[in-house]
Amino acid sequence: MVGDDVWPPSNVTRSALDAHVKAGILRPLTDVELPEWIVPSANDREPNPPPGYVVCFLSFLDRGFGTPAGRLIRAILHYYEVELHNLNPNSVIQAAVFATVCEGFLGVPPHWNLWLHLFKADMAARYEGGEKFPLRVGGCTL
């Protein structure tokens, strides 16, 4: 269908995730039954996470996202009524920088009203032939 956005296949490998574990930004695998993370299978044309799992991106880990998720990122998803895959890397680094400015420079816990004052959300879309098409991934830009 013209304008229909599709998920690109995942190019994430076990070694890429292991490198993030080594760098301390992803938890190591400790549970065989309920692994902390799963490399998508080659058959997964689009995400089909098992119950209890979400879809995350390597680029989010490099930008300050981690689990268990902190209050600010949870509030962002809750307030804007979006899921993790609706954010994009720039939005994630914006949130991480904001949390750091609050805690490390202003000396207060992440301040929600200051967040609302400084940031607005917008719908990211793909434009084709003058028409606007929603994105399957990264549709909410902060």
Partner: protein
């Protein structure tokens, strides 16, 4: 921020949603921009933000940028968006690293530069290091805040004698915790408990 994050959408994998803290995956697509996305802070809260905005202005004057902030959190080996045992401003020597920092050993300058180049802008990879609270040499915001206090309330403080934390305790900067779903439940429980206590007093 980088002008292009080309190909990031292919970097997906499945991550355990600990305790269901994150919104469950349904494959949702954003198809519109609800009004509340652009509302901003409630108008009655705007004036309470003045001390924080003055603090931000001072940081801007001190040339604190997204890259310097990213350098600071990578240097301390932190994931700002993950749960941590301690806030960054509480990270004194006595605070155990587990549950707060991601690594025990210091992160190398070259690793920090590579991360910052990838996540902010390649030209900013060697951004200067600005110490964060409570490390010695952090940027003091007291003078800017005192200016705000003086102009708003008429109080006069000596800029060097009042630390920022003291201003918070005085109620000048009110906390505004990011709202999460369980807050509603906690508030309902608190309300019920208060009503019970009130009834008990009346009896």
């Amino acid at each position: 921020m980088p002008t292009s994050n080309r190909g990031w959408q292919s970097g997906w994998f499945y991550l355990q949603n600990d305790g269901g803290l994150l919104s469950a995956y349904t494959g949702k697509m954003v198809t519109g921009c609800p009004q509340k996305w652009v509302w901003g802070a409630p108008s009655e809260e705007q004036k309470r933000l003045a001390p924080l905005l003055a603090g931000l202005e001072k940081l801007r004057d001190a040339r604190v940028t997204a890259a310097t902030v990213a350098t600071a959190f990578h240097k301390r080996s932190l994931l700002p968006l993950a749960q941590r045992r301690a806030f960054m401003f509480e990270m004194t020597r006595g605070v155990p690293w587990a549950g707060t920092r991601m690594l025990v050993e210091p992160v190398s300058a070259s690793d920090i530069a590579a991360w910052v180049a990838k996540t902010t802008h390649p030209d900013l990879k060697n951004s200067r290091v600005v110490p964060m609270r409570p490390k010695k040499g952090y940027i003091s915001l007291v003078r800017g805040l005192v200016f705000v206090l003086t102009s708003c309330t008429g109080f006069l403080f000596s800029p060097v004698s009042i630390p920022f934390s003291a201003l918070q305790k005085m109620g000048i900067v009110r906390y505004s915790l990011p709202p999460v779903p369980e807050d509603r439940e906690i508030r309902a429980k608190n309300r019920a408990r208060n009503e019970e206590q009130k009834k008990a007093k009346e009896v």
